[in-house]
C-alpha cells in the first residue's frame, strides 16, 4: 500500500472502517452519557420495582382479607340485607308514598309562589304609598287600606304555607325511612373494600411515576442537594428494614429538622449536586467536604447546638459544656475529654484560651492540601488526619532531619484510646466557620442553655484544684501535677512535675506544709506577715514562694538541651493577666497539698 504511488492507492477500505469506528464511538458516547453516567436512573428504577412489589403485597393482603371466610360471610350478609331493603322499594306502599311526596311538593310550590307574589305586591304598594305621601296625593288613605288588606291575606298565605311544608316534610320522611337503610348497608360494604381501592390507585401511580432527578434547594444555607435522587425513600417512613439507598432516615432528626429547611449536606457533607458515586459522597480528590463517617456525623449537631454558653463571651477560658440532648454522646465525650486533658491551656477557641498552639475555633475548615499526609496510614481526609494525629502526634508529623528548624508536632501524646480519639475528632469537626454562615432565624427554636451555677468552693485548695483543670495547667503538667510530658530539646527533657512543689519550697514536713496552706486558706499575704511563723527557714521558704508566684505570673522560657538546637516548643505562658493573685494562691495551695508524703516516708 505504501509502495504504490498515491494516485493508485484505494482508500475506500480505510475510509469505510474508520467511519464505522467513528459511528460506533458516537454511539458509545451516547451510551456513556445516557446510561453509564446516570446510575441514579437504575437506582430509581430499582426502587420503583421495590415499591411496586411492596404495594402489591399490601394489595394482596387486602385481597386476602376480603377473601377470608369471616369477612366473606359478613359481606354476604350485608348483601342479603341490601337485597331485602331494595326489595321493599318495589312495594305498593313505597310507590304510594312517592306519589304523595310528589303531590305535596307540587302544592307546596304553588302556595309558596302565591306567597311570594303577595309579598312582592306589598312592596310595590309600599313604594306607591310613599310616592303619594311625598306628592301630597289624595289617594294616600286608599293605598293604606289596600296595604292593610294585603297584609291580612299574606298572613293567611303564610299559615297555609307552613301547613303544606309540614305535609311535605312528612311525606319525605317516609321515603327517607326506606332509603336510609340501603345507604347504611352500602356504607358498611364500602368500608370493607376501600383499602383495596386505595391500594389499586397507589399501584397505578407507582407505575406512572417518572424517573427524574430530584433536588432540595435550601437557599439560606446555599445548598442544593440531589441526594434524594437515589435515596428516594429518605423522607418516607416504613422502609427501615431495607438496605441503602432504599432506607428511611433513622432517628427523629428529620421531624425536628425538616429537609426542605435544612437539606442533606449541611449535616452529612458530600457533593450535593453530583448524581453518581463516589463523587456524590465527596470521596474524590480535592472535594473539600467528603461525607462524614458514622463516628463523626454528630459533629454536625454540635455546629449549632453550641459548645459555649451564650452571654458568657467575656469570660476566660470558655466554659465548655455538655449539651443534654439525644445523639450527643460522642460530642459530650469529646467535650469532657477536652476539659480533662486541659487542651485550653495551649489552644484557644475563637481567641479564648492559651496561645501556645493554634486556635481551634475554625479548625474544621482546614483543607486537605494544608496538611501533610506523608505519614498517614488511612485515607487522606482532614478527619482522618486529626484522628491519627490524636492517636500519635509525633508519628503523623515526624521530626524532620533539619537541625534547628522543625521538631514535628509538639502536642503531647496522651495515649488516647481509639474511641477517645474519635470523640475528640468529632468535637474538632464541629468547630467550623459554617456556624457563622447559618442564618440567625435557624436558631429560633434553640433552647437557651442556662449558665451553670457559680460554684462556691469549700476551701482555697478546692478552688485551686478547679483552676488547675479549668485553665488547662493539667494539659502539660499532667493529672495531679505528675509531669512527665516530653518537650523536645528541653533541658530537663520532660515538663516538670508540680506535685513536688512542697519540696521545692523547702517544706519537708507535713506539718509545715499544712501551716503554709492554712495561711493561704485564711487569705493571709505571706509577704506582709509581721511575725515570722513557726516554720523552719521561713525566709528561704518565702523567697521560694515569691519565685513560684512570679513564675506563674510571668512565665518561663525553657532552657535548651542542645544550645544549637531549636527552641523547645512548649513553654510556661504568662498568667499574670488571666489569673488573679487569689487564683494563684489557690493553685499554689492545691499543689502544696498534693505532695505525696506517706509514699516518700515509705521509701
Amino acid at each position: 500500500m505504501f509502495n504504490k504511488p498515491v494516485e493508485e492507492v484505494s482508500f475506500s477500505k480505510v475510509f469505510f472502517i474508520s467511519s464505522i469506528i467513528l459511528i460506533l464511538s458516537i454511539f458509545w458516547i451516547i451510551y456513556d452519557e445516557v446510561i453509564t453516567r446516570r446510575e441514579w436512573k437504575r437506582e430509581q428504577a430499582e426502587f420503583i420495582k421495590l415499591e411496586y412489589k411492596k404495594a402489591q403485597e399490601e394489595y394482596k393482603k387486602a385481597e386476602d382479607y376480603l377473601n377470608s371466610p369471616e369477612i366473606k360471610e359478613s359481606s354476604e350478609r350485608l348483601k342479603n340485607k341490601l337485597k331485602e331493603a331494595s326489595h321493599k322499594l318495589k312495594t305498593k306502599e313505597y310507590r304510594e308514598s312517592l306519589l304523595n311526596e310528589e303531590r305535596a311538593s307540587i302544592s307546596l310550590n304553588k302556595i309558596s309562589r302565591e306567597y311570594q307574589f303577595i309579598k312582592s305586591k306589598l312592596i310595590e304598594l309600599d313604594y306607591e304609598y310613599y310616592l303619594a305621601k311625598d306628592n301630597n296625593g289624595k289617594n294616600v288613605d286608599a293605598i293604606k287600606i289596600k296595604i292593610k288588606r294585603l297584609k291580612e291575606t299574606l298572613n293567611d298565605a303564610e299559615k297555609k304555607l307552613l301547613k303544606k311544608q309540614e305535609e311535605f316534610d312528612k311525606s319525605k320522611e317516609k321515603i327517607r325511612g326506606y332509603l336510609d337503610g340501603i345507604k347504611k348497608i352500602n356504607l358498611e360494604i364500602s368500608k370493607i373494600t376501600t383499602q383495596k381501592d386505595k391500594l389499586r390507585e397507589k399501584l397505578k401511580s407507582i407505575k406512572n411515576k417518572p424517573i427524574k432527578i430530584e433536588q432540595i434547594i435550601v437557599e439560606p444555607l446555599k445548598r442544593i442537594d440531589r441526594c434524594n435522587t437515589c435515596h428516594t425513600v429518605i423522607l418516607k417512613e416504613g422502609y427501615n428494614e431495607y438496605k441503602e439507598p432504599f432506607r428511611s432516615h433513622p432517628g427523629e432528626y428529620l421531624k425536628i429538622h425538616p429537609v426542605e429547611k435544612f437539606g442533606c449536606t449541611v449535616c452529612h457533607y458530600g457533593q450535593g449536586l453530583a448524581t453518581i458515586l463516589p463523587d456524590s459522597h465527596g470521596m474524590i480528590k480535592y472535594w473539600e467536604e467528603p461525607m462524614y463517617k458514622k463516628e463523626y456525623i454528630h459533629a454536625s449537631c454540635a455546629k449549632c447546638h453550641e459548645t459555649e454558653i451564650p452571654g458568657h463571651e467575656e469570660e476566660w477560658p470558655p466554659e465548655i459544656i455538655e449539651v443534654d440532648m439525644p445523639y450527643m454522646e460522642v460530642i459530650n465525650k469529646g467535650r469532657r475529654l477536652f476539659k480533662e486533658l486541659g487542651c485550653i491551656g495551649c489552644h484557644a477557641i475563637n481567641g479564648k484560651g492559651g496561645n501556645i498552639s493554634v486556635d481551634l475555633g475554625e479548625i474544621a475548615d482546614k483543607t486537605v492540601e494544608e496538611l501533610d499526609f506523608t505519614y498517614i496510614e488511612g485515607e487522606h481526609s482532614v478527619a482522618n488526619w486529626m484522628y491519627e494525629h490524636f492517636l500519635s502526634p509525633q508519628k503523623v508529623t515526624k521530626i524532620r532531619p533539619l537541625p534547628g528548624i522543625i521538631y514535628g508536632s509538639s502536642m503531647p501524646n496522651y495515649n488516647l484510646s481509639k474511641e477517645d480519639a474519635d470523640a475528640l475528632t468529632a468535637l474538632m469537626l464541629s468547630l467550623t466557620s459554617e456556624k457563622k454562615r447559618i442564618p440567625h432565624y435557624y436558631y429560633k427554636d434553640k433552647v437557651f442553655i442556662p449558665p451553670p451555677p457559680v460554684v462556691e468552693y469549700a476551701s482555697k485548695v478546692e478552688k485551686g484544684k478547679a483552676s488547675f483543670l479549668k485553665f488547662g495547667c493539667v494539659g502539660c503538667h499532667s493529672k495531679n501535677g505528675q509531669g512527665g510530658i516530653e518537650n523536645p530539646n528541653y533541658i530537663k527533657k520532660t515538663i516538670p512535675a508540680l506535685n513536688t512543689l512542697a519540696e521545692k519550697m523547702l517544706l519537708f514536713e507535713k506539718e509545715d506544709v499544712e501551716k503554709i496552706v492554712n495561711y493561704l486558706e485564711q487569705g493571709v499575704q505571706l509577704e506582709t506577715l509581721e511575725q515570722e511563723p513557726p516554720v523552719p527557714r521561713f525566709s528561704a521558704v518565702l523567697a521560694q514562694y515569691k519565685a513560684v508566684k512570679d513564675t506563674i505570673k510571668k512565665g518561663i522560657k525553657p532552657g535548651r538541651l542542645d544550645p544549637d538546637g531549636a527552641e523547645p516548643p512548649l513553654y510556661m505562658p504568662t498568667w499574670g493577666a488571666r489569673l488573679s493573685d487569689e487564683d494563684i494562691e489557690g493553685i499554689i495551695a492545691y499543689l502544696l497539698s498534693i505532695y505525696p508524703f506517706e509514699e516518700s516516708e515509705g521509701e
Binding site: 475510509f15 474508520s18 464511538s25 458516537i26 458516547i29 472535594w287
Partner: protein
C-alpha cells in the same frame, strides 16, 4: 520513579506526553527522508512527481480527520477533566504553573529577569518567526526533503524548537516540582525541599563599583553581539558567496536573532555550572 510515572499519567499531562512522542516521531521521520534524499547521487535526481491536492491529499487528510475524531471521542469518554483544589487567595500554589505550552517561557524566567524573559524574548520569538520567509529566500528544499542543502536552517530550527522550546516544556512539566525546584525523575517531589540559592552577579564576583559594573556588563554584551561582525568579516573573506546571498542587512538581522537565541543556553550554562545570575545590570533591566 513511581512519582514520575504518576506525574506523567496525570490526566492533564497525558496530552503533553503524547504530543512529545508525536513531535519526536515526525522530526525523526522528516530527517530520515532528508538523509535518504541526500544519498541519491546528483545525476540520478529527477524532478519529483507532482500530484493534485484534490483528491489525493484531501482524501488522506479526511481519513486522518476521522481517526483524530475517534481518538478524541474515546479519550473524552475514558478520562474526565481533572479537578484541582478550591482556589484560595490566601494559599496560592507553589509553583503556579503556566499552561503547558508556556512552560518554556516560564522556565526562561529562571535565567532572565521578567522584563527580558517575559516581554523581550517572546516578542523577538514572534517577530523572528514572522521574519523567516523574508530572511530565508533560498529556493532549495522546496517540495522535497533535504538536509545537506539546508544545514544552517535545519540545525538552527532544530536547536531553537526541539532543544530550547520542547525540552524546556518537558523540564517545566515533568522536572520542575514544588518551589520550581529541579527534581530528577527518580526523586520524590518533596514540598519541604530546600536548596541554597548561591547565585551571584558576574560583576559582583569581580567586585566592581556600580558605574564599573554598568560599563563592564555593557562591554561584555556589546562584545557578545559584535561576534556577528566578526562572523561577517570572516565569512566575507572565506565564503563570500554566503554573504552575497544574504546581503548585509539580512545577515545582520539573522546574526542578531541567532545570537539572542544562543544567549539562552549560554545563560543556562552560566547559571547552572557557575552560579552566575546576571551579567549586566542597568536601572531598567538585567541581563
Amino acid at each position: 520513579m513511581h512519582n514520575f510515572i504518576e506525574i506523567l499519567t496525570k490526566p492533564d499531562n497525558i496530552p503533553i506526553a503524547g504530543m512529545l512522542v508525536l513531535v519526536f516521531f515526525f522530526y525523526w521521520y522528516g530527517l530520515r527522508q532528508a538523509f535518504r534524499n541526500d544519498k541519491i547521487p546528483e545525476e540520478n535526481r529527477k524532478e519529483p512527481d507532482r500530484v493534485d491536492v484534490w483528491p489525493y491529499l484531501v482524501r488522506i487528510e479526511f481519513v486522518a480527520l476521522i481517526v483524530v475524531m475517534v481518538l478524541l471521542n474515546i479519550w473524552s469518554i475514558l478520562i474526565d477533566a481533572p479537578l484541582e483544589e478550591i482556589a484560595n487567595p490566601n494559599r496560592t500554589p507553589n509553583p503556579s504553573k503556566a499552561p503547558w505550552y508556556f512552560l518554556g517561557l516560564q522556565e526562561m524566567l529562571v535565567y532572565f529577569d521578567p522584563w527580558i524573559a517575559g516581554v523581550v524574548l517572546p516578542g523577538l520569538i514572534i517577530v523572528g518567526l514572522m521574519a523567516i520567509p523574508y530572511l530565508d529566500v533560498s529556493p532549495k528544499g522546496n517540495g522535497y526533503y533535504t538536509f545537506k542543502e539546508r544545514k544552517f536552517a535545519i540545525l538552527t530550527f532544530s536547536f531553537g524548537f526541539v532543544v530550547l522550546w520542547v525540552f524546556m516544556i518537558i523540564i517545566g512539566t515533568f522536572l520542575r516540582g514544588p518551589g520550581w525546584y529541579l527534581f530528577w525523575p527518580w526523586q520524590e517531589w518533596d514540598t519541604h525541599k530546600i536548596v541554597a540559592i548561591t547565585n551571584v552577579n558576574l560583576y559582583d564576583l569581580l567586585g566592581l563599583t556600580y558605574a564599573g559594573s554598568f560599563i563592564f556588563g555593557g562591554a561584555v554584551i556589546a562584545l557578545y553581539y559584535s561576534l556577528g561582525i566578526f562572523a561577517y568579516l570572516y565569512l566575507k573573506k572565506r565564503k563570500p558567496e554566503i554573504i552575497n546571498q544574504f546581503g548585509i542587512i539580512r545577515f545582520s538581522i539573522v546574526a542578531f536573532l541567532f545570537l539572542t537565541m544562543m544567549a539562552l543556553p549560554i545563560k543556562i550554562i552560566l547559571n547552572l555550572l557557575f552560579h552566575i545570575k546576571y551579567i549586566w545590570s542597568t536601572p531598567w533591566f538585567y541581563i
